[in-house]
Symmetry: C2
Subunit: 120 residues, 2 copies
DNA sequence: GACATTGCTATGTCTGTCGTAGTAACTATA
DNA sequence: TATAGTTACTACGACAGACATAGCAATGTC
């Protein structure tokens, strides 16, 4: 297991995208590359997952779409920027994450992990 | 937000149950109480979630059902114990958790969290 | 005897992820 | 300039885990 099963990440893809949009507006392909690089290939977001996150978050008002092209018919990419609501949502998720960590770690045993690694 | 949205926990309910079964065989109602208490009410597992986890994990061979009653027709509770496969699965999930934490934390900003708490 | 708690089953819905497929523009290369 | 590879998306359907709702029977408590 070198990659993460995405079911675990579920609920945090939005957060990952919003984190990156806090820095700069961006678009699908670039974001997916950034996520892959930032996580050192440990998490590679699927295209469909990414784009469905866009439409969900746009619907929820967390991001806004825009285009750099003057001519709408010519635009290649759809850029997104984070909204104020998106920033609030992001912060909420960060707080939730600390709670989640606390909860899950009650049920995790770190002992023997190294040992296990060796005996594999 | 004092409780955790269960979508975040998704993928770790099995782990929580297995952790407790490592100590003792147990049954639904008791496990749900233990989870509630261990997490100081931060996570309260839904009944349906719990019991569907049982059947899923039994199907996967991670747990085994048994009864303390001699007379099967009289049994009140279904007890479960963890199997060897379950122990391995549990350890795998613990390793996965460390990875997950690493990945997610790249996208979390802890700064301003306290500040936010104050202004609420 | 009434009421709360315990312990579980059945059924269906919702949502996020993902597989598969397809399209079109742009880029590099030979 | 033909071709292959990369970029940048959209559409559609399947699946699985969490959960709402409902129901039911045994046990405990006052």
């Amino acid at each position: 297991m070198t990659q993460i099963s995405s079911d675990v990440i579920r609920g945090y893809t939005d957060t990952m995208i919003l984190f990156l949009l806090l820095e700069n507006p961006s678009y699908g392909y670039e974001l997916s590359k950034q996520i892959r690089e930032l996580t050192l290939e440990k998490y590679i977001i699927k295209e469909t997952t990414l784009y469905s996150a866009f439409s969900r978050m746009q619907k929820n008002g967390y991001i806004e779409a825009f285009s750099y092209e003057a001519d709408e018919s010519r635009k290649r990419r759809t850029y997104y920027r984070i909204t104020e609501a998106g920033k609030n949502y992001y912060q909420e998720k960060c707080r939730e994450w600390t709670l989640t960590k606390e909860v899950v770690e009650h049920f995790i045993k770190y002992s023997d992990l190294a040992e296990q690694e060796d005996t594999r």
